[in-house]
Symmetry: C2
Subunit: 232 residues, 2 copies
């Protein structure tokens, strides 16, 4: 049976969720087919009887699972014969550390750069919700005020990416010779940026560009979707 | 046969190498006995016919291995029946990412705080070498000039540790339910600081204190050595 994956989308149909992206990669990693069910920000509370506030949500037969980590664990537990997402509890714990680092140091900075772009790409009916909920987190600034001077934040973001560059000096993927969940987490972050971000995040000579290309090419080019340039 | 582990020591006998510390933990993890051979900074070029510039170095029978990653790999390859340091190449790759993050974001900041302390604790015959080699890296400043205002750097260090706190919200160790090489890397960094650092690095209410205690207690309290307080 095909798994249904609810995906948060922009007006132009591009995915607006880095967390859905990692599950798309995870499903591909395990060789599981899925159909994406596109929804907007304001649709999420209407799904599954209003039980969940965020995507990804999967429906797998009678089972519904929300939250990317819960879904990853569900997939490994349920589809044991398919390639595992985590070779051991230790690798899972390390991917969890990576997720924390990427969220705190990288995703937060991308959000500071692309928050107004997300709004502008959201479906018209989602834009008021997005503005209201996000501006409540931005210390009284409008999305546009918050995004002012964002070019200066690019340097900070590029500097913060040093640990990924260091790891990728000696291996093609964060997972080593093959991509693992840490790669999917990071690729999801860049795909999220690429969906909406109207300024390129990386310099042309950034070694991360090679890794991005490898990552987008995985699983028959799962990440080669229409997007803004990620590289200046 | 007992493995010999060359250890860089201060005048008071405490270890001055975070990289030796991770190998002490790695040997304990694998249940391998070792004898530490204490040396000073200026002794290292005299070891093993001058082949190596850094510690750790191990001598295991006729085999000599230098560099903490090479030693960790050697131990897993040679002592296959003992508990593995890395359950899979993926876990190893993730620990390698962690090492890069910890070096760039944490160890560099600890070094900026404790560099003069290291000098002052080094054996008298090592101090001129240490001062000359380190001041060459400090942009023309003396160790003492570089250490000025270091209290202000504590905030930056504590802030940079957020990803470790995030990971340790849901598990006792970075490796999950049990400690792994990432824990040993980080514990080694704090033990290095504790050997010499005359100001405490962490606040009393920092959740990392619980993890440090758990880590020091591992393997019959391998990390419970004499040190300066790590906590204010």
């Amino acid at each position: 049976m095909t798994i249904r994956l609810y995906d948060l989308v922009a007006a132009n149909g591009r995915s607006l969720s880095p967390f859905v992206w990692r599950i798309k990669y995870a499903l591909a990693h395990k060789g599981l087919s899925f159909e994406a069910a596109p929804v907007g920000f304001t649709d999420i509370p209407k799904l599954c009887g209003g039980k969940y506030k965020t995507v990804p949500i999967i429906e797998d037969g009678a089972t519904t699972v929300c939250d990317s980590w819960a879904i990853a664990d569900y997939l490994d537990k349920t589809y044991r014969d398919a390639p595992t997402l985590f070779t051991s509890p230790q690798e899972r714990a390390m991917a969890h550390f990576f997720d924390g680092w990427f969220g705190l140091e990288i995703m937060n900075r991308i959000f500071q750069i692309n928050v107004a772009d997300i709004h502008n790409h959201a479906r018209p009916e989602d834009q008021p919700y997005f503005r209201q909920s996000r501006e409540a987190r931005l210390g009284g600034k409008t999305l546009e005020q918050f995004a002012e001077g964002r070019d200066a934040r690019l340097d900070e973001l590029r500097y913060a990416l040093r640990p990924m560059r260091a790891a990728l000096l000696s291996a093609p993927f964060l997972g080593g010779d093959t991509a693992n969940y840490a790669d999917y987490i990071a690729l999801g972050g860049f795909l999220w940026a690429g969906a909406v971000c109207t300024i390129p995040l990386l310099k042309a000579d950034d070694k991360l560009n090679d890794w991005l290309k490898r990552g987008f090419d995985l699983y028959d080019g799962i990440g080669n979707v229409e997007r803004y340039p990620l590289t200046a």
